[in-house]
Point group: C2
Chain length 270, copies 2
């Protein structure tokens, strides 16, 4: 049986590939196991700067960071003063999207599924506003309250009813970066989205993407993010589970809203 | 009461605007009436070339032409050999989208709601293939039959179930220009679209637009289309109703599938 694949940080023990030698550190697509044989290193990126916690390369400097960067900057070109909404905002990607948008001077609102997460967004991640979607009987009304002028950019992690409410609140020439639709993954039939007609009159652009599409822009991304981390302009929260045996319950926790910040599994401390 | 507005061809009878004088011909947003007072000429374009039927400026050289051009060329950048699907393909815009895509060397399939329209698409407008969506119990299967390799570009006129089936058949980095969703306009609640998750993995870009967004590109558009018309490379079909009193039934006919080609109402022959 193939082991489950996932993104991780690894140390090279041995390599016959000209670009990799013993003790190199890499991040990228590896597996849920202690030792991996990597036969397709195109999904690996070498770690050059170790003056930050290595775990960052599973998050802010790894796939979630590149995802937030690519979806927000490359697809949506945020401009100072624009209104940005992020759903699943306390997650690994969402927390970064909001902070990256603040770096450009946007007004940023996030939603999450608990009071604790909402506080984190407002008090730790510097979002301008945040709300608990589980406490909002009317998502359209919640968005109208948070965005009386409408939304220019929506970073979509959720799908379904949330997307329907967002479409009603988008502004003309709004952009939607579709990163995922976590509310839909485990449904037998995905919910219907009813308000797509908004796309026409408002000339909305909706675009899906994968972090892998932006691998070639990793150096450009590091140039932006590394100084911001070192100057303390970016905050990053991890939820660490110790031991590979904790991985399955940690994965389930993502879908039930247990984790706060990037869910991480430490397989070996070094 | 305000008269209904619509796109038409008109002759200037009198003008105090510096750009317009008596006997100038214009096309653009006027009204359902014999004589109109136009106070906002930013929605008018002057007709310079009268070596084609004037009615063309309500269609292939007017709003539908600019709509087909903008949605297909500006939003979707079709390349030779790409697979293009057009719904409501025998309509004013659809017939042009298909032909414009053929000019670039795409493989083009259209759908329409009658055998007569399907024949027109294949035999008159030069579509590579066409089908009657009303005779297809399974739209997904129909699209798989017509596009075994999948769809690169979808010119969306219909919405609802058709969009859902198209999403399943889009290729990676596919583009959807959303021109309209005629199947949804008269529903109390629009149908749900269930397959939007396809947008992520396939990195689909979906974008709404209005012809008015491309007014500034009208000269560029004319340069492309006028020679193709004069060389007989473009075919254009009109459905002409005589007299303003026929306008209401002609409008209803669009929604019930009666018209073939651009529905036109002649208010005055010259």
């Amino acid at each position: 049986m193939q082991p489950l694949s996932g993104y991780g940080v690894s140390k090279v023990l041995d390599s016959t590939h000209p670009n990799y030698k013993k003790d190199d550190l890499v991040w990228g697509l590896t597996s849920w196991e202690e030792y991996s044989l990597i036969q397709s290193p195109q999904h690996l990126i070498k770690i050059l700067d170790t003056n930050v916690p290595l775990s960052y390369y599973t998050g802010i400097l790894g796939m979630p960071g590149l995802t937030a960067y690519g979806g927000l900057y490359e697809l949506c070109s945020p401009k100072k003063g624009e209104y940005v909404y992020v759903s699943a905002a306390s997650g690994a990607v969402g927390q970064l999207v909001g902070q990256f948008a603040k770096l450009v001077g946007c007004y940023v609102v996030g939603s999450a599924g608990s009071k604790e997460k909402v506080n984190l967004l407002k008090n730790k991640f510097g979002f301008d506003d945040a709300f608990n979607y589980k406490k909002e009987p009317d998502l359209d009304a919640a968005l109208k309250r948070c965005f009386p002028e409408g939304i220019d950019i929506y970073f979509e992690n959720v799908g379904g009813k949330m997307l329907d409410a967002v479409l009603l609140n988008m502004r003309i020439h709004g952009r939607i970066a579709v990163c995922g639709m976590i509310s839909q993954y485990n449904l037998e039939k995905p919910e219907g989205v009813h308000n797509l007609m908004q796309v026409v009159g408002k000339r909305i652009r909706m675009e899906g993407f994968l972090a892998g599409d932006f691998y070639h822009q990793y150096p450009k991304f590091l140039e932006l993010v590394m100084p911001a981390i070192k100057e303390g302009k970016l905050v990053y929260v991890e939820d660490i589970a110790e031991g590979l045996e904790k991985a399955p319950s940690a994965l389930v926790g993502i879908f039930t809203g247990q984790n706060v910040g990037k869910q991480l599994v430490v397989v070996a401390p070094e």
